[in-house]
C-alpha cells in the first residue's frame, strides 16, 4: 500500500474544505471498499479524510412522513431498523443480502452507495481498464465477462455496480443529500450513479469534495409491499448475478402503481421504467409481469459469457412481482 496521510476532520464543513484543496484526497467512512482497494493499489489517494463520525448515524422521521437516513448509519443498523423493516422491507432485505456480518457492521449508508465495481479487471492493476486508466482499453469486453453488464454498457466499459442497498433505494425513489464546496444539493438516486459512456472512470455525478450526508426515503404507503430478491452463485456472501427490488400497489387485481429496479445488470442500479409503465393499470398476472420484463429487456446486449442474465432477469422480475401480488392482496 502506498503511504498516505490520515486526517480526522472536526465537522462536515471542515472535511469538505480539506478535500476541496487536495485533488488526490478521498473521504474515508467504513473503509470496507476503499481500504481493500488501496491495499491492491487500485486506488491511491495521498490523503484520507475520516468522515465516519461526522454525519448523522440515526434514522429519523421527516415532516412529510418520510425517513432520513444519516450517511454514517451502519448497514447492519439500517437493516435492523424497525421503521425500515415495516415500511421499506426491500431495503432491509437488500442490506442483509450483501457482504458479511463483519462488513455490514463497518460499512455505512453513504459508503455503500459509492462502492466500486467488482469487475476483476478493474481490481487487477496488471490488466488494461478504462475505468482505472482511461484510454488503456477494456479487458472485460473480450475477457471473462459472466458478471458484467447487459444493459447500458458502452464500448469503453461493461462493469456493473455491485451494491444491493442502492438497488432497493433506486426502486424506493430515494433522494441523496450532498454537501460540497458549492453548498448543499439534493439528487434523485437515479441521477447519482451514471452509465459509463466514454467516461467510465466516473462512477457517479458527484464532484470532487462532495460528501453524501444523508438519504431520504419518501412516504409512499405501498412501499411496505416491497421485496428484494437476489440470485448469486452461492446462498450467501456473493455479489448478485441478477437482483431485483420491487414495490407493488395492487387493487382488485389491477396494478395501481409499481417500482422495479435491477442489480447486477448495469453500471448503475437499473430502474426498469419501461416495465413499470407497461404495468400501470393492467391486471396483475404472470403473463403481464413477464411481458413487462420482456419490454424492459428488449435492449439488452449480452456479452459472450452472460446471455443467461436476460432470461434470469425476466424470471426474477416475474417471480418477485408474483410474490408481491400474492402478499399485497
Amino acid at each position: 500500500m502506498r503511504p498516505y496521510k490520515y486526517v480526522r476532520a472536526q465537522d462536515v464543513d471542515g472535511a469538505v474544505a480539506t478535500l476541496a484543496e487536495a485533488p488526490n484526497a478521498a473521504f474515508l467512512a467504513g473503509g470496507t471498499n476503499l481500504v481493500d482497494l488501496m491495499k491492491l493499489e487500485v486506488m491511491t489517494p495521498d490523503m484520507l479524510v475520516d468522515v465516519r463520525r461526522l454525519t448523522s448515524d440515526r434514522v429519523e422521521g421527516l415532516d412529510d412522513g418520510g425517513l432520513r437516513i444519516g450517511a454514517a448509519v451502519p448497514n447492519s443498523v439500517l437493516a435492523a431498523d424497525h421503521k425500515i423493516r415495516s415500511r421499506y422491507p426491500a431495503l432491509s432485505q437488500a442490506l442483509l443480502a450483501g457482504a458479511s456480518g463483519q462488513l455490514r457492521n463497518l460499512a455505512t449508508t453513504g459508503g455503500n452507495l459509492l462502492q466500486h465495481t467488482r469487475c476483476v479487471y478493474w481490481q487487477d492493476v496488471t490488466t488494461p481498464c478504462n475505468k482505472r486508466e482511461p484510454g488503456s482499453g477494456c479487458s472485460a469486453i473480450e475477457g471473462h465477462n459472466k458478471n458484467h453488464a447487459i444493459l447500458g454498457a458502452s464500448e469503453h466499459c461493461v462493469a456493473t455496480h455491485p451494491s444491493d442497498m442502492a438497488v432497493a433505494m433506486a426502486a424506493l425513489d430515494a433522494f441523496i443529500n450532498v454537501q460540497g464546496p458549492e453548498g448543499e444539493r439534493r439528487i434523485p438516486i437515479e441521477e447519482l450513479h451514471r452509465l459509463p459512456g466514454d467516461e467510465p472512470q466516473r462512477d457517479t455525478t458527484l464532484q470532487h469534495g462532495e460528501l453524501i450526508t444523508s438519504v431520504d426515503l419518501p412516504p409512499v404507503e405501498f412501499f411496505s409491499n416491497s421485496k428484494y430478491r437476489k440470485v448469486r452463485e452461492r446462498a450467501s456472501y456473493a455479489f448478485a448475478l441478477v437482483s431485483v427490488a420491487a414495490a407493488l400497489d395492487i387493487e382488485d387485481g389491477i396494478v395501481g402503481d409499481v417500482r422495479i429496479a435491477l442489480g447486477g445488470v448495469a453500471h448503475k442500479p437499473w430502474r426498469a421504467t419501461k416495465a413499470e409503465e407497461a404495468l400501470r393499470g393492467e391486471p396483475a398476472s404472470e403473463a403481464n409481469f413477464r411481458a413487462a420484463a420482456d419490454i424492459e429487456l428488449e435492449d439488452a446486449q449480452p456479452l459472450r459469457d452472460n446471455a443467461f442474465k436476460v432470461p434470469l432477469a425476466r424470471n426474477v422480475i416475474t417471480r418477485t412481482l408474483l410474490d408481491l401480488s400474492e402478499e399485497g392482496r
Binding site: L28, G30, D36, L40, G101, Q102, L103, L106, A235
Partner: protein
Amino acid sequence: MKLRLMVNGESRETEVREGESLLYVLRERLGLFGSKNACEQGECGSCSVYLDGELVCACLVLAGQAEGSEVVTVEGLSEGERLHPVQEAFLEAGAVQCGFCTPGLIVAAHDLLSRNSEPTEAEVREALAGNLCRCTGYEKILTAVQMAAETTP
C-alpha cells in the same frame, strides 16, 4: 501518533502510524497474536474482533479510526486459563485443523450466540458466512457452534 485503546478490558497506549490497520496494532504493537492476518481484504474473517461491541474485520479498520475505542479480541473471551464455552466446544467437536481461521470463527460464533442463543443451522451458516475455512469443510464448526449454544449460559 499516540493511540489509546481499551483492549480486553485493559487500557493500552502505543505509538502508531495513523494509516496502519487495527490488526497490525493488535499483533505487532500489542503482541496479541490471536487475531490472524490472512487476506487483508475483509473477505476471510480471520481478523474478526469486537470494536465498540460490534464484530468487525480488524484489517479494514485504520488505527486512527480506532482511537479511544474498546476492542475485544479472542484472547479476551477466556477467563484466565478457563476457556469460554465456545472455545471448549471447538475443541470438543474437533472443529480445528490448521487453526488459522479458528480465532476469527470463535469471535464470530461468540457474537452470534450473544444475539441468538438458539440459532438454527441456517442462521449459523449465515452468521459465519464471512469466515472462511479451507480445511474442515465446516461441518464440525457447525457442530461446535450448536454444542456451544447448548452450554453457553
